[in-house]
Every structure is written in structure tokens, then in C-alpha cells.
């Protein structure tokens, strides 16, 4: 029987590199910022929630919008853009897709940007109700490594990478007795958001089965 887990912390990210960097997005960006701000109006953005990032590497500089009530942030620079939402779940997936589609579409249209490959990430901290986090993780430890010491292992991590997919399992650094799970998948630029969401959900369900856990929605 699957172990019931709660997911107190979760986030979703979608990062897209442009087909080619466009430095106009640094210099001539007032109309783009205004356009994105207007497009996000249904979610009540505030001018105070716009942040101009002028530090870091040139590729990290740009403009970030925040929608605090939705825990959404959207950043665009000269080479890429990134959408993040905290406290995500599948019940709010439609809303998440609507907001990200609004933000990306406004940027693509106003900045005349051609979007490239889409990189998605889902991060979750799973807190088991009865087991310890090591009970969930230890089946993924090769016995040869586990046998290096007689003492029980305190924690461990596993990272598996494929051409367009990556899975990370780790102990949580943010919660007591919790497992951190990160699911990353890369999509072609033409992929539809809904199709991406379906595939990510299938990834999550598959990984939960492998871990032997089920979300406690009680």
C-alpha cells in the first residue's frame, strides 16, 4: 500500500531561451514592460511588484514581475525568460497555464521574440505520514555503496538524467522528515502548454508509483 504524503512546499518553473538573444530587450523595453503589465491586469499586478534586475551576468539582467497573491513571478532578459509559481498543485494547473500563457504571449508579441526550447521543472517536498524519509529513499541506494559503512545512512540523493528528462531525489533541506523530488523535462518550442502539463503530470504519477507514495488530500 502506498505511503500517504503531504506536499507542504512545491513549485513549478518554465524557462525558455530565445532562438537568438535580442539586446533591444535591455534598451527599448518600456513598451514591453507596460504591455506585459497590462496583460497581467486580471491578476492585479502592482507597480511595486516590478523589479529591474541590473546586477549579475548580462544574461541574468532584465525585468521581473511578481503576482504575490498567486505566488507567480515572470522574468525576461535579453536571452531567456522564466516563469515560476510556488505552492502549485494540479487543481490550480489551469490557472497557472492561463497566467503563463498570458505572460509569454505578451512578451513574444511585444518583443518580437521567437521562443526556443522549453525547460520545465516541478519541485516538491514530500512529507510521509508514517515512514521516515530514509525509508522512502533507501530502496534507491545501491547495496554496494550502502555497505561501505556499518552505521545506518543519514541521508542520500539520486540524480538520473536522460536526453530531455532529469529526476532528482534528495532529503529535504527545508522540511523535517521529507523527501525532495525534482522533475525536469525539456519540450520542443512548438509544444502546447496543455500537452506539456499532461506529460509532466504523467511523470509525477509515474515517479510517485516508483517511490511508493500517494498524496494525502484529506
Amino acid at each position: 500500500m502506498a505511503e500517504l504524503v503531504t506536499i507542504p512546499i512545491s513549485y513549478f518553473e518554465l524557462e525558455i531561451d530565445y532562438e537568438r538573444p535580442d539586446v533591444r530587450l535591455w534598451i527599448d523595453r518600456a513598451s514591453i514592460v507596460q504591455g506585459i503589465f497590462d496583460a497581467l491586469k486580471p491578476w492585479n499586478p502592482s507597480v511595486d511588484d516590478i523589479e529591474l534586475r541590473a546586477t549579475g551576468k548580462p544574461s541574468e539582467q532584465g525585468v521581473a514581475f511578481k503576482l504575490p497573491l498567486k505566488r507567480v513571478s515572470f522574468f525576461f532578459g535579453a536571452a531567456s525568460c522564466k516563469f515560476t509559481r510556488d505552492a502549485v498543485d494540479w487543481e490550480s494547473a489551469d490557472e497557472t497555464l492561463t497566467i503563463l500563457d498570458t505572460a509569454f504571449s505578451a512578451l513574444a508579441k511585444l518583443g518580437r521574440i521567437v521562443m526556443g526550447t522549453k525547460r520545465t521543472t516541478i519541485g516538491m517536498h514530500l512529507q510521509p505520514r508514517t515512514m521516515t524519509f530514509m525509508d522512502l529513499l533507501s530502496p534507491f541506494m545501491p547495496p554496494q555503496l550502502a555497505a561501505l559503512e556499518k552505521a545506518p545512512m543519514r541521508t542520500m540523493a539520486v540524480v538520473a538524467k536522460w536526453e530531455k528528462r532529469k529526476v532528482t531525489l534528495d532529503g529535504s533541506a527545508a522540511l523535517a522528515n521529507a523527501v525532495f523530488v525534482k522533475i525536469e523535462r525539456e519540450f520542443e518550442s512548438a509544444s502546447a502548454y496543455l500537452e506539456m502539463a499532461r506529460e509532466l503530470r504523467a511523470d509525477e504519477e509515474q515517479l510517485f508509483r516508483v517511490l511508493g507514495v500517494e498524496e494525502d488530500r484529506g
Binding site: P68, S73, D86, T155, G171, S172, A173, A174, A176, D216
Partner: protein, 164 residues
């Protein structure tokens, strides 16, 4: 406890939820003062309260690193908002708890309201071993730290165990 050095959150710092009035963190009797109508709240005071709120949120994140909150954490979070000393004690306790109960022990937090209407926060060791061992661990913890600090909790915090 993590093994792989990597960011595990989005990195966004979200402001605390804005209440009707910024100084009303908790509206339950007797912890919140009555707002006085017509009294202007100085700008600096609001900023100070927001800063206290951010500090409290950061402390709660620390508490979550050491203690497992219930699936619906509202009762515990509200309790900790109204009992800041208890929150501080929870942040000091883990080193002594680990030393007494072992590094892998899991502690749950619960804040039930008893029949008389009063509320106490329980830090419960979920103990898979036998009763004698957990009693000895609790006694070690009491002697090493809790007896000398329990007065600060004013009876609002208790450490106990549950056999699982």
C-alpha cells in the same frame, strides 16, 4: 536533511499575507490589542511590523526544518504566532532532542485545544522502538535541557512521545 547541494525552492521571497490592518497579526483574544479608531499608524511602525513578520516567517521556516507540522498546519502556525517564546524554544531544542532521542528521530507538532479551552503545543517524538528506551530518552532530554528551560514556556509547550 539533504545530501545533494542544490537549490530546493524557487528562490522567491514572498511577503507575508497582508492583513486588514498590518498590526493585526493575530485577532484572537487576548493576544491582539484593540485597534483605536482614528489613530493614525505611523509609517515606521508599519514597516517595523512587516519586518517582525518577515522575521517570524523565517523562524517558522526554521521550525519546519526540525518538526513535522500537521497536514492542516493552521492550528500550529496560529499558536506559534501568538507564542513567540515557544517558537524560540523550539528552535533551541533540536540539538538536545537529537542528542537524547538519536539523530534520526522524527518530531511532530500538535496544538490541540483541551476541554477547558486552553491550548498547549506538543512536540511528539514518533518512536518506533520500545517504551523503556523512549522514556529514557525523554528523561535524558529533561535533564540535559528542558528542566532548566521549561519555565520560559509558561506551560504552553510539552515534549512527549508516541509509539509507532
Amino acid at each position: 536533511m539533504n545530501a545533494y547541494q542544490e537549490f530546493q525552492t524557487s528562490g522567491n521571497q514572498w511577503p507575508q499575507a497582508v492583513h486588514l490592518m498590518l498590526h493585526e497579526e493575530d485577532q484572537r483574544f487576548p493576544f491582539s490589542p484593540e485597534p483605536k479608531q482614528g489613530r493614525a499608524i505611523p509609517d515606521y511602525l508599519e514597516k517595523q511590523v512587516v519586518s517582525f513578520g518577515a522575521e517570524h516567517d523565517a523562524a517558522l521556516n526554521e521550525v519546519r526544518r526540525y518538526f513535522v507540522l500537521p497536514a492542516d498546519p493552521a492550528s500550529v502556525l496560529t499558536f506559534l504566532s501568538g507564542h513567540r517564546t515557544v517558537r524560540q524554544l523550539l528552535l533551541e531544542a533540536p540539538a538536545y532532542l537529537k542528542a537524547s532521542f538519536g539523530p534520526d528521530a522524527v518530531f511532530n507538532l500538535r496544538a490541540p485545544i483541551d476541554e477547558s479551552g486552553s491550548q498547549t503545543l506538543y512536540a511528539v517524538a514518533m518512536w518506533p522502538g520500545d517504551l523503556r528506551d523512549v522514556r529514557q530518552a525523554l528523561a535524558r532530554f529533561d535533564d540535559a535541557w528542558w528542566i532548566s528551560h521549561s519555565r520560559q514556556a509558561s506551560g504552553y509547550l510539552a515534549f512527549t512521545y508516541e509509539l509507532v
